[in-house]
Symmetry: C2
DNA sequence: TGCAATACATTGACAGGCGAGGTATATTGA
DNA sequence: TCAATATACCTCGCCTGTCAATGTATTGCA
């Protein structure tokens, strides 16, 4: 069972920002890290990942630069900005709030 | 601070089904119950609510019937079906799984 | 009389996820 | 040697769910 698109929607930005908070990274590695973290249970689709990078860079939450690989495929690295950091913390709070609300609503309240 | 559309997306069906599991009800009342449950912090938009009813009925997860109000505005009542019940439990399990995964991913893992 | 509350419904715009397709380099093993 | 696999990036267009705006009708109350 994998996570439905609609359940992940709205969290991709936060997930990417959380990864970048650990240090600069590039698309492929970020997705690998996510897969490792979830024991292979989850990974962002490539199209989703790169769409998100474009969006986040346009918002000024991340900036990108090309790595100086002398061998192998080229890598575009991403770095979180101060604005990105601020928004990450905001999104995290929003998640925590909505998690509680959803948790309350998707259950029947026989026990209340 | 209210819940962003993208965070609620994918949960409306589960929320509605959870309400109907408590007994038959109609749109307006279901939304009232949700508002009460969350102390006014959250409510589904009408368009979202009625769109969801159409979708759920088409799926065969709920059925509807007109109430026999002799006074006041007419009410369309909804009832959860056996298929709806099964899917509710499935959606609940999916939420519990995705909640854990998202929770893990939106945080930095300094503590791990 | 006119306003708020109750109650339902539709339309069209919008945004994000993603399947499908594409490019290029390096390694490995049959 | 050369095909397959892994690494690494990217875009187009479809699909789906949310929601603002707008409309209808009834009832009660000031």
């Amino acid at each position: 069972m994998s996570i439905a698109s609609d359940l992940i929607r709205g969290h991709t930005d936060t997930i990417i920002l959380a990864q970048l908070l650990q240090g600069d990274s590039y698309g492929y590695q970020i997705n690998r890290a996510i897969e490792v973290k979830t024991n292979g249970k989850f990974g962002l689709k490539e199209a989703t990942l790169y769409t998100a990078f474009r969006r986040l860079e346009e918002l000024g939450w991340i900036i990108s630069y090309w790595g100086d690989e002398t061998t192998g495929a080229r890598r575009r690295y991403y770095s979180i900005t101060e604005l990105g950091r601020e928004n990450y913390y905001r999104l995290l709070r929003e998640w925590e709030l909505s998690r509680e609300i959803i948790d309350q609503l998707v259950r029947t309240d026989r026990s209340l």
